[in-house]
């Protein structure tokens, strides 16, 4: 298992041949599928309205909201012209993405408060059903990835 090619392990700082790398290698299939899932939401073949650069900017923003600056910096590299949106203070108004970023922020950090109106608001903003699902998959995957990384960092302290 090549640890450096997997975002979860490299961003959690799990070193090759460490005690923790032995533990996680029992679930190498899960780590590999997690990396494939990252490809599917960050760099899909069919993007819909969200290109790879906007997706990277959203990912950096979500990581920033979760206070994971290492992961945020990793995603920000690919954000291109949207890099400024990685800052949660930016509304996205001037890029025409205000409704989308407000939705991203709420789904990421106030999931329990999301209602049907949040979804219908995106439709009103002209986002198709397929693109709403694509946006949710991106944000939802990141919630998973951020938490696996956070958990591994805690384990690292224990097994070090």
């Amino acid at each position: 298992m090549n640890l450096s090619s997997m975002t979860i392990l490299s961003k959690a700082g799990v070193a090759q041949n460490s005690a923790l790398s032995q533990v996680v290698s029992t679930r190498s299939n899960i780590l590999e599928m997690s990396q494939t899932a990252e490809e599917a939401v960050l760099r899909p073949k069919k993007c819909g309205v969200f290109g790879h650069d906007v997706r990277a900017a959203i990912a950096a923003r979500v990581a920033q909201l979760a206070e994971d600056e290492t992961l945020a910096a990793f995603y920000a590299v690919d954000a291109g012209q949207y890099a400024v949106l990685a800052d949660p203070q930016e509304t996205g108004e001037s890029q025409g993405l205000a409704a989308i970023l407000a939705f991203v922020d709420k789904v990421s950090n106030c999931t329990h408060e999301v209602t049907a109106e949040d979804v219908s608001g995106l439709k009103t903003a002209g986002i198709s059903d397929a693109d709403i699902v694509r946006l949710c998959e991106l944000v939802a995957f990141l919630a998973y990835q951020i938490r696996v990384i956070a958990g591994l960092r805690l384990m690292q302290r224990e097994t070090a």
Binding site: I30, M33, A66, V107, H112, A130, V133, A143
Partner: protein
């Protein structure tokens, strides 16, 4: 008539999408493959048909979900369900909470743990091992995640091996993902029963 279920329950509701799902008759070959539609299996849930809008994600999500929740070894299945339930309670995903509380009760052959959790939340009276599992998963599910070294220590003290702790991280984190689909893209509903 249907009504939206807002309180936690083990009685699994139906799930009603807030967007229009892919229609099976319009599905592309790639979507049909991700939906696992075969001549002998033509039943696909509204949830999976909704996720088929993003077929690249769906194709990897289903096997990943199954591996995290069902692969052999490591943490027991019922304890993975407890991690899933804790996250679902934090995110108030009533549908996911119902499915995974029900599975926990059946796997554990015991309804008292989930009864207690639904009645008292983080104040629930649990065994030391269940308490450590629930507390870690609950804090890990918060935004930003707030589990700390003391929660990790509690898991070790409760007897979890490192392999079991990693499985718990995976199952509770997985519901950070699942809840943000289920709870955001649809409503848990039940048909009104006329008295």
């Amino acid at each position: 008539m249907t009504h939206i279920v807002r309180k936690f329950t083990r009685k699994v509701p139906q799930w009603q999408p807030r967007v229009v799902p892919v229609k099976l008759e319009d599905a592309t070959p790639q979507q049909l493959s991700a939906l696992r539609v075969t001549p002998s299996n033509t039943k696909v849930s509204a949830y999976v048909l909704t996720l088929a809008h993003d077929v690249e994600s769906l194709s990897v999500r289903s096997p990943l979900f199954n591996a995290i929740m069902y692969d052999r070894g490591g943490l027991s299945r019922e304890e993975r369900e407890l991690g899933a339930l804790a996250a679902s309670m934090v995110n108030h995903c009533v549908y996911c909470a119902a499915v995974h509380a029900d599975r926990h009760a059946k796997l554990a052959n015991d309804e008292t743990v989930t009864d207690e959790l639904f009645a008292n939340g983080s104040e629930a009276d649990l065994s030391p091992r269940n308490r450590a599992i629930f507390e870690f998963s609950r804090k890990a599910a918060e935004s930003p995640p707030s589990a700390g070294p003391e929660d990790m220590e509690a898991l070790s003290n409760a007897g979890l091996s490192d392999e079991e702790i990693f499985d718990l991280i995976l199952s509770s984190s997985l519901f950070g993902w699942a809840n943000r689909l289920m709870h955001v893209l649809g409503d848990p509903v039940r048909r009104e029963v006329k008295a």
